[in-house]
Structures are given as C-alpha cells and as structure tokens.
C-alpha cells in the first residue's frame, strides 16, 4: 500500500502536478482555474481535485469536437470507402505493433511480445506495408498496450485525473505514459515534415472515426457527461491494465471510494493476490460480499 502511494506521488511529481507536496502552488492554480471557470468550486471532489479546471477543458474539447473533429471524422467516413478505411487503420496498427511488443516485454509477457514482433514481420511483408492485417487472420491476435499500462502493471497508481486540451482525459500516470509513447512513435522520426504531419493528421481522424459509433450512447446514457466520461475512462484503463480481465470490484466494499479511489493500489493487490493464491495452493481470497 505504501509503495503504491509513493509511486502514485512520484507519477504526479514527474510531470510537475504533485497534489500532495507543493500545496500552495496547487491551490493557487486551482483557485485561478475555479475563478476563471466556474466562479468557485464549492465542495471540490477529493477524488477529482482538478474537477473545476477539468470541466472547463472538457467543455472546450466538446466544442472543438462538435464543430471540427466530429464533422471531419464523419466526412472521412463518408468519403473513404470501408476497405480504404480498414487499410488505413491496419497501417497505423502495424506502425504501433512494435512498441506494443516492447511494452508486453516490459510487462513480463514475452510470448505476447514475440507474437507482436511476428505481427509486424507478417503484416509489413505479406500485408503490403501493413495495409492488410494478415497476422490476425493467421491467429496472431492484436494486443492493446501502451507505456501507461506498463507503468500500471509495475504498480504505479493513477494519480490525478487531468483533462488535456484536444488530447482529452489522462491520469497523471497515463500522461507520462503518453509522453513516452510519443517518443517511441515511429511517425515522429520521419524526416519529411509534410509526410509526418499528414500521417499524424490521418491517424487522428482515423481514431476519432473509430469512436463515432459510441457517440450516441455516450450522449444519451449520462446524467452528467463529464462524470460519465471520467469514470468510464478510469474503468477502461483499469481493464486495459489487466488485459481485459480486471477482478470485479465488489461493490459495496468499494463504495466510499467509488471508481476513482479504486485505482492506485490495485496492481499491487493483483501481485499479492497471485502470491496468496500460490501460497494457499490455488484458493483465491474470498470476494467481498455483494450489497444485500
């Protein structure tokens, strides 16, 4: 637990957004954000200390999305026929697979890493530079990894939830992870600026277009879209860190914290649970009882 907390703080400090030390700076920044945005944040949420600032950036991002990004993504979907879009998605998927493999290696999953390397080799050659995802067809499944997940696997907690302009939601840990991902992105090393920028742009549009089906559900489902997106983001990241099989958090036991407080300790818990399972000869600790 203590280690998780330390890591948590480290993750925040590294990007200069510590919420525990440096309280003066934080409250000054926070007060400024509040004054600027909401005219006061009475009852700030301890689980989302930047909520006032975050909400402001969130609505800015919503505006940009509504008037620019979404129309562009819709136009792209209308203009480029499905096989073309699939080829483009596959191409960027292939560009990312090597780094996914590195992250699998860093997370202690060498078999998955080898599979990722195999994907790159097959798709770059037989898949004509990545336009076709032959590897999936021959049974090498695509993985979903990034450096933020690797940090999570190592026990680094979420840290503060931050909404960045354009980039969108990230935890402090995932902001750091995102920076490292950018550094490892092959597109960034292209010499030709024009080619590089068009690749960045196309990938952005491709990504946005892939979320179009979720838009309606997201708009209709939420009582408060900001909170819905925040909690969905945090749940999703947690699920990704556990490769889609997070232990179910039951439910009543977790309540005082809710989704947000769940983050930091869990990877550590997973390790200790594994150890316990080994020690106890295969019986996992009992789950907390459900609400009755």
């Amino acid at each position: 637990m203590r280690r998780a907390a330390n890591n948590d703080q480290q993750g925040q400090t590294m990007i200069g957004l510590s919420t525990r030390s440096n309280t003066g700076l934080r409250s000054a920044f926070f007060a400024a954000a509040c004054a600027l945005v909401l005219g006061g944040c009475a009852g700030a949420n301890p689980k989302d200390p930047l909520e006032g600032y975050n909400r402001a950036i969130f609505s800015f991002n919503e505006g940009v999305d509504k008037f620019a990004l979404k129309p562009i993504a819709q136009g792209y979907e209308a203009a480029v026929p499905l096989p073309g879009r699939t080829g483009i998605s596959n191409f960027f998927g292939n560009v990312g697979d090597l780094w996914i493999g590195v992250n699998n290696l860093l997370q202690g999953k060498p078999v998955a890493a080898v599979s990722d390397l195999g994907r790159v080799l097959i798709n770059s050659t037989a898949g004509i530079g990545g336009l076709f995802d032959i590897a999936t067809e021959v049974g090498l499944e695509k993985h979903d990894e990034d450096f933020g997940q690797t940090l999570g696997r190592w026990g680094v907690g979420n840290g503060t939830y931050i909404v960045w302009p354009i980039i969108g939601p990230r935890t402090a840990r995932d902001t750091l992870g995102f920076g490292v991902d950018l550094f490892a992105d092959p597109v960034g090393y292209l010499g030709n600026v024009r080619v590089r920028n068009s690749l960045y742009g196309t990938r952005f549009v491709d990504t946005r277009a892939s979320f179009l089906p979720a838009d309606k559900a997201l708009n209709e489902a939420s009582l408060d879209k900001y909170a819905y997106v925040r909690d969905a983001y945090l749940q999703r990241r947690r699920s990704q860190i556990y490769d889609g099989r997070p232990p179910r958090l039951d439910d009543d036991a977790a309540v005082p914290g809710g989704v947000l407080s769940r983050g930091p300790m869990e990877p550590i818990d997973a390790v200790s649970q594994l150890v316990l399972t080994r020690v106890n000869g295969g019986t996992a600790p009992a789950r907390a009882p459900a609400v009755r």
């Binding site: 689980k47 499905l82 096989p83 879009r85 699939t86 998605s89 695509k142 892939s210 089906p213 979720a214 309606k216 559900a217 708009n219 209709e220 489902a221 939420s222 009582l223 408060d224 879209k225 909170a227 819905y228 925040r230 909690d231 969905a232 749940q235 999703r236 947690r238 699920s239 990704q240 889609g244 997070p246 179910r248 958090l249 439910d251 009543d252 309540v255 005082p256 809710g258 989704v259 947000l260 459900a290 609400v291």
Partner: protein, 210 residues
C-alpha cells in the same frame, strides 16, 4: 385415426418436455448465446431497425432480452451505499427509471455497429457457482473488436444478467459517482427526479447531455 392422433400428441409432448426443462436450466453462457443470436437475427433482418428506429429496438429488447435481466440487482449496484437509505418504494422507482435509461443505452450499443458478428470466448464454470462472467466480442469489418461481457447471478428462476461491460466499462457501476452526486444534492427523490427528467428528454428526442 384417434389412436394415431393420441400417439402424435404423446410423442410431441415427450419431445417438448425436456426442451422446456432445459430452457429453464440453461447454462449462463448458453443463455447469453441464444438470446444474442435471436436478437442479432432480428436486428439483421428488420428493416425498421436497419433504418435506425430506436423504438423498434427497444421493443425487441423488452421482449427478448429483459426477461433475463435483474434490474433490482443492477440498480442496487449502481446506487451503492445510498441504496440502503432508500425506502422500498423509492427503490422500485429507481429501478424502473434506471431500466428505461439502460435499455436505451444498450440498444444504442447494440445497433450502432453495422454488420457486426458476435464471438463468444471459451466459458468455464465450477459446479455450484452462482456468479459468473460470460465474455464475448463484437466484431465489425474495419474496426477493432469491442469486448462485451455479461455478469450473471443464479436466481430462483434461472440465471439473470446483473451487469453489462462494454470495452471494460461496466454500464452499471459507471453510474455510481453520478448517482452519488444526485443523492448528495437532492436525496434519493432527487435522483429519481433526475432520472425521470433524463428519460423524458430522451423520449422527446433530445439526445444531447449537458
């Protein structure tokens, strides 16, 4: 002739009875598979649904899917701690409104993906287990597969779904913070009112959340 008829009835009866019994004791994965199969079949062939008629989808879900859901359980999980401070009437009202909201969300999740197919992952269950996870994946041409999992609990009248998890996000527990906000602001009745308001807006065709 009469005898033939009697024989026929008897044979039919014998053939049907095990079927009925089996339907009641369907294993959780088989249950989810068969319901998903039925619904997909209809979604693919129904012209109204193809052209985006949400009402028709909701009818379909009402008929085929909802009998296998336990909304009291779902609502209890979504509300969390405050559930115990709600009166039975409030609990019923909450469950009814939450059901309306969830059905719409689920209908959207189900129909936004065109030409989808659903793959089920291998399912194992220990004897005597009463709480299981059935995992599936929505595949669509040109897109990444979307993980779609169901939590089921065994109840007196068969297995019932109590959570749906889309891409790692629980449709049920994702509401806990929002519900908590509403209860802190206006009590349980405040939450009921907010849900009613949201559902009324959606029924009137306004889709944009604030």
């Amino acid at each position: 002739m009469n005898k033939l008829f009697a024989n026929l009835v008897f044979t039919l009866g014998v053939a049907l009875l095990p079927g009925l019994a089996a339907a009641q004791e369907l294993a959780p994965d088989a249950l989810v598979k068969s319901v998903t199969g039925d619904v997909l079949q209809i979604v693919r062939t129904d012209k109204d649904i193809q052209s985006g008629n949400t009402k028709r989808v909701i009818e379909l879900i009402d008929q085929k899917v909802l009998p296998h859901f336990d909304f009291m359980h779902m609502t209890r999980l979504a509300v969390g701690r405050d559930w115990r401070s709600a009166t039975p009437d409030q609990q019923k009202a909450l469950a009814a409104e939450f059901k309306t909201l969830l059905v719409r969300t689920y209908a959207n999740a189900f129909t936004s993906y065109k030409d989808q197919s659903v793959d089920f992952k291998p399912f194992k269950m220990q004897a005597g287990e009463t709480d299981v996870l059935v995992r599936s994946e929505i595949k669509q041409p040109g897109g990444k597969p979307v993980q779609l999992d169901y939590n089921l609990a065994k109840e007196a009248n068969g297995w019932k779904v109590y959570d749906v998890i889309v891409a790692g996000v629980s449709l049920v527990t994702n509401y806990r913070e929002q519900f908590g906000q509403e209860v802190r602001a206006g009590g349980v009745d405040g939450l009921v009112k907010s849900l009613q308001k949201r559902n009324a807006e959606l029924a009137a065709g306004k889709s944009a959340a604030k």
